[in-house]
Amino acid sequence: MQTIITGRVWKYGDDVNTDVIFPGKYTYSLTEPQEMAAHALEDLDPAFAAQVQPGDIIVAGRNWGCGSSREQAVICLKAAGVGAIVARSFSRIYFRNCINHALPIVTCDAVDGVNSGDQITIDFAAGTVTTPQGVYTFPPLSPEARAILEDGGLIPHVRKQLGL
């Protein structure tokens, strides 16, 4: 896992739910990550899927990823190239799904200091997000979550645990 990530911001608000991140009508019909990426954030920001660049960072308000447990809401963003998600808070299942797919997430208030299009830098070792408006700090992940992230997600992590 990279310890420092710099990327361009896509800024969103509070309570962005998994239905607008990845619509339920596709949950059983699309199975390939790249197909999912084409519909990422379709019902929230139709420009996103067309314009997102590898390494871009989503910065949002409270309760990002509330709603359904659907993992495609993480996979579609990862496949679209999103490098990290920074939010004031995450819904619980979404948080776990990010760790399990090795999509780095940061819980802090950086949304206060950014606009869409800004460049920001996340330093995971230092626990800081540097924005044009200032530096925001965040607590480290638990050792359990860090281990899964560092192994590249839950499947490689479990394989390692089982000695496979």
């Binding site: 239905d19 607008v20 339920g24 309760n63 509330c66 808070s89 995450f90 299942i93 359990e144 479990v158």
Partner: protein, 425 residues
């Protein structure tokens, strides 16, 4: 020993030591629920590289989300699941028509006081109505549970919600939980456990308590629990071969919250004068009294889902619609939550009353709630639903509008063709 909440006690039994919020422990769940997403979970399971599931009796698989299959893709998905069930020798498999997983699991003895249940569905907390610890997880995580038989969980802080007062006529548990979500917000309980109690909850049926636990997910809760009482134990006992009411009471006694346990928040609600509640588009915490939205025209009315597809829900709708007819501009869809509910409703004549009033009866299952079949919406259309989510785009078109209300409000509104007060019909 210090005093502990339910979630601290239920998880401590497996940890073998006292636990505090924030600690991370590994547990072996008693049950793992998966549904139509089992085909994808099986693919992830194979990617891990294990041949056999850790314990086939841990798995419960229910086909409910797009069931019967809407097209060839869904059909192939279901077939892959049936093959996986046969290959792994999983006994608890409920095929198309059994009902919605959150009704089927308790009906078939897969939920009990003190059980630890994880499920690849966000409404898994429903089983807290039976004194179980139940939490939603993602697909990859479900695959890892299949492979290892275990999962890590963080011990959450708890919120205690006490509900007081006698519910007015035609005001239901759904109105109570919508009101609470409106008050504390869609993230009011994120990553926390909720304990519901109070005299209003004690007076509720088992079905009503399931509504509270089911919708705790909509305030972000990890799990929710309601203390089982004689009603719960009488409902459960015939469904659990190894238990009677006395042994179930003993299971609860081992995990019931201690007096003096420490809570992150303690909230009190008085519902004795609560009017029927409506969640307006497009968030569940956008809640108003029904009187604020009277007259909103509806195209479709949905009675069912894992929130409100139970016998008492069909009963109150039938009471309102019996001998009358749904408004000509409205499609009323009725989906009993399970085969058992459907059979009971048939025996009581409720289905006859509803269909005679113009309802379209659909098979037990999730139906149109997730927008994949059986009543998807066109742009500009309005549905009033007894479901638990009204997110933009959820029922098909992102240009459609979903309002949430109780079964009584849905029936009254189907009758009038517009959102109506069930106390006035």
């Amino acid at each position: 020993m210090s005093a502990h909440t339910f979630v601290e006690k239920v998880l401590a039994r497996q940890a073998g030591r006292e636990l505090s919020p924030g600690e991370i422990i590994t547990v072996r769940p008693d049950r793992l629920l998966t549904h139509d997403n089992t085909a994808d979970i099986a693919r992830k399971f194979r990617k891990i590289g294990v041949r056999r599931v850790a314990d086939p009796t841990m798995n419960v698989i229910v086909l409910d989300h797009v069931a019967p299959a809407a097209n060839e893709t869904y059909a192939a998905n279901h077939r892959a699941i049936r093959e996986f069930v046969a290959e792994q020798g999983i006994p608890a498999f409920y095929d198309v028509g059994a009902g919605i997983c959150h009704q089927v699991l308790p009906e078939h003895g897969h939920a009990w006081p003190g059980a630890i249940i994880v499920g690849s569905d966000s409404h898994t907390p429903t089983y807290g109505a039976f004194g179980a610890f139940a939490a939603g997880i993602g697909r990859t995580e479900a695959a890892a549970v299949m492979a290892t038989g275990s999962i890590w969980l963080r011990v959450p802080p708890s919120i205690k919600i006490t509900i007081h007062g006698h519910l007015p006529p035609r005001v239901t548990p759904k109105d109570v939980i919508l009101h609470i979500i409106g008050e504390i917000g869609a993230d009011g309980a994120t990553y926390q456990a909720v304990e519901f109690g109070g005299e209003t909850v004690s007076a509720m049926s088992v079905a009503g308590r399931m509504v509270l636990a089911n919708m705790a997910a909509e305030m972000g809760a990890k799990n929710a629990v309601i203390a089982p009482d004689e009603k719960t134990l009488a409902w459960l006992a015939p469904r659990l071969a190894a238990h009677d009411e006395r042994s179930l009471a003993q299971l609860w006694a081992e995990v019931r919250p201690d007096d003096g346990a420490s809570y992150a928040r303690e909230l009190h609600f008085d519902v004795s004068e609560l009017p029927p509640q409506i969640a307006k588009p497009h968030t569940v915490d956008n809640v108003v009294p029904v009187t604020d939205v009277l007259g909103t025209k509806i195209d479709q009315a949905l009675l069912g889902t894992c929130t409100n597809g139970r016998l008492e829900d069909l009963r109150i709708a039938a009471e309102i619609l019996r001998g009358r007819h749904v408004h000509p501009g409205v499609r009323l869809l009725v989906l009993p939550a399970s085969r058992e509910v459907l059979l009971d409703a048939l025996a009581e004549g409720l289905i006859r009353d509803l269909v005679a009033a113009g309802a379209t009866l659909l098979n037990p299952g999730c139906g149109p709630c997730l927008g994949a079949h059986e009543g998807a919406m066109a742009p500009g259309e309005v549905t009033l639903s007894t479901a638990n989510r009204n997110f933009k785009g959820r029922m098909g078109s992102q240009g459609a509008f979903i309002y949430l209300g109780s079964p009584a409000t849905v029936a009254a509104s189907a009758l009038r063709g517009e959102i109506s007060d069930p106390r006035a019909v």
